[in-house]
């Protein structure tokens, strides 16, 4: 268990982990001070799983979007769904968000059943959807205001939280400007601020940095990292392996509606890939021919349309052997293994196509 220091910003925000009566902001204390949610006695210990899915399944007519998956999300962790578009991540998120009904299986969110207690669950969730579905006609502040009102918060409470959230989202000087002209990164940060207005126990982020430029992504990661450090439970879907590696304590790799693997990013890489990777680029059309002859240099090879990947524990050594053997790749890159390699190993395909 990592020792979490309360962050001054979020302490001011009054995040559940850091509310009054819980000066240390640690999880154990927090559980002692919060009202037990409805259904706790029925479903057992809340501390273990904020979300528990068993054989979770979602069909759209003929299409099987989510195919009988199991997973648990624990309090205080950043949990990820990594997979390509169409893997079933967003459908899973919509079910956790207690918006979309399950086709089969069971799902408990915050110890409750989404089919029965949807509004009660949603009252304690923060949702950051894939699209910035803000009210474009309204100002930054007004977006927080009407959203807070949907949760039944009073204007004075919203005003107080809005000031802190705009500070957190680095939008203080945009408080009264309309949403429409804001940059993509600003809009996304506003959507995150909006998702925190009800001080959620669980924040759901669906592809949080898709469509943002690198600088905006890094700024956003920094904000999400702060939330994580303050003990906010995050569930993130992404098809970016760097995002998953940076933010997620634990993740599942999804493909075609199923979970292909589960674990901490480092553990997954260790389990399914070598320590390092040597990427070789040969003239067009000769990748697979060359790969055949390279097989005994590496533990494993993968042929992509534009390059050959050699999995090895020492990329530089492998590189030397490739040259020794007389191969003449047009370019080479040696790097550490990533989740992308894990995905490739598990599914035979790349994450972003």
């Amino acid at each position: 268990m990592v020792n979490r220091l309360p962050h001054p910003d979020l302490a001011a925000l009054g995040h559940p982990a850091l509310r009054a009566g819980n000066p240390t902001g640690t999880r154990d204390v927090e559980l002692g001070t919060r009202d037990p949610p409805l259904g706790t006695s029925v479903y057992g210990r809340m501390a273990d799983s904020l979300v528990q899915a068993r054989n979770l399944t979602k069909h759209f007519d003929e299409l099987v979007a989510v195919d009988s998956i199991d997973f648990d999300v624990h309090e205080g962790e950043a949990f990820g769904f990594l997979g390509p578009n169409g893997a079933g991540k967003s459908s899973t998120m919509k079910m956790i968000g207690s918006v979309s009904p399950l086709t089969a299986g069971t799902l408990q969110v915050l110890g409750m059943d989404p089919a029965r207690d949807g509004p009660k669950i949603r009252a304690r969730l923060g949702v950051v959807p894939q699209d910035d579905n803000l009210d474009q006609e309204l100002t930054v502040y007004e977006n927080l205001l009407i959203y807070g009102r949907y949760f039944g918060l009073s204007k004075s409470v919203i005003d107080e939280r809005a000031a802190e959230l705009l500070h957190f989202a680095q939008l203080e000087d945009r408080r009264d400007s309309p949403v429409e002209p804001l940059s993509g990164g600003m809009k996304r940060r506003l959507v995150i601020a909006r998702g925190l207005i009800n001080q959620p126990d669980l924040l759901l982020l669906d592809e949080p940095t898709t469509g943002l430029d690198p600088q905006a992504r890094h700024l956003l990661w920094d904000r999400l990292y702060r939330l994580k450090q303050q003990g906010v439970t995050l569930i993130i879907t992404t098809h970016y392996m760097d995002e998953a590696e940076q933010l997620c304590d634990r993740l599942v790799i999804m493909d075609k509606g199923k979970i292909a693997a589960e674990g901490a990013p480092r553990d997954l890489i260790e389990e399914y890939s070598s320590r390092e990777v040597l990427e070789l680029r040969f003239p067009v059309g000769t990748q697979s021919v060359n790969a055949e002859h390279l097989a005994d240099i590496a533990q494993k090879t993968e042929v992509l349309p534009d390059r050959v990947l050699l999995y090895t524990d020492d990329a530089d050594h492998a590189h030397a052997r490739v040259l020794e053997a007389g191969f003449e790749p047009e370019s080479t890159v040696s790097r550490r293994s990533t989740l992308e390699d894990v995905f490739l190993r598990l599914t035979g395909r790349t994450l972003v196509d």
């Binding site: 759209f60 919509k94 968000g97 918006v99 979309s100 009904p101 949807g118 509004p119 009660k120 949603r122 009252a123 969730l125 949702v127 959807p129 699209d131 579905n133 803000l134 009210d135 474009q136 006609e137 309204l138 007004e142 205001l145 009407i146 959203y147 009102r149 949907y150 949760f151 039944g152 909006r194 009800n198």
Partner: protein, 258 residues
């Protein structure tokens, strides 16, 4: 389904309106002025001097104004229940944002219709005021026509919201106005009694909610005899509201939370 949730949707509608009212307020005031001036005063003088005066037994402007109020309510409702709903579902996805909160689809729909009701009341009261200024009706006559006009608008708002919830793109909305709203506007007894229509068309006019709305507004405002029992017209319009709202909830559910 809670009233509080619906009220918050109404409140959000009002907050958005505070930012966008400039776009619609001109037409709210200008439309009745233009129509009453052109059709009521301009055309009306010819009607009154011709055979129309005798068969209507009313100045044409007075005959026209309350029916036009019902039609204005229909048009305002069609405006509020079409493009903004499409934006909520598809273009801006603001409905998705709302449904991530404790507010559910029934509350969203009821709140949407609640907000449209407030807008319709505003539009209708302004229209009744312009009618009075034109001397078409007295203040009380004009105000008497407001509730049936709002009911007429609401019937359309519910049905058109359901219609919009099914649409994949906005081309269907253009068709709605071209083949739905405009013909109804012209042939539902606003400009002339439907008895003037060919006999085979007449029964269809009785089926349109606008005809019942026009009839209610006109008869209630002017205190003249009804063609059908007004309770039947009220019940018919209420049925459109209820069935429309029911369908809208179903279709919005299918569209938004599948």
């Amino acid at each position: 389904m809670t009233i509080a949730g619906s009220l918050r949707v109404v409140e959000a509608g009002a907050r958005v309106y505070r930012r966008t009212w400039r776009g619609s307020v001109i037409s709210t005031f200008l439309n009745p002025v233009l129509y009453l001036l052109a059709m009521g005063v301009g055309l009306g003088e010819l009607v009154d001097e011709g055979t129309g005066g005798a068969s209507l037994d009313l100045p044409y402007l007075t005959f026209l104004a309350p029916g036009l109020l019902a039609a204005a309510a229909m048009q305002a409702a069609a405006g509020d229940a079409s493009y903004p709903v499409m934006a909520g579902i598809k273009w801006r996805k603001t409905y998705e944002a709302v449904l991530a909160t404790p507010v559910g689809v029934p509350e969203l729909l009821v709140g949407h219709l609640g907000w449209v009701t407030l807008r319709l009341t505003f539009v209708s009261v302004v229209f009744a005021g312009v009618m009075t200024v034109f001397g078409a009706t007295t203040v009380m006559e004009g105000l008497a026509a407001v509730p049936p006009a709002v009911l007429t608008g609401l019937a359309f708002a519910a049905a058109i919201t359901a219609f919009t919830a099914r649409l994949k793109n906005e081309s269907g909305l253009a068709s709605l106005f071209r083949f739905g709203i405009v013909p109804l506007f012209l042939f539902s007894g606003v400009f002339f009694p439907i008895a003037q229509l060919p006999d085979w068309i007449e029964p269809f006019a009785y089926l349109t909610p606008l005809w019942h709305g026009v009839e209610l507004c006109r008869r209630l405002a002017l205190g003249i005899d009804y063609t059908v029992n007004p309770l039947v017209s009220v019940a018919y319009l209420l049925a459109w509201v209820v069935v429309g709202a029911f369908l809208a909830v179903r279709l919005l559910r299918r569209r938004l939370i599948a």
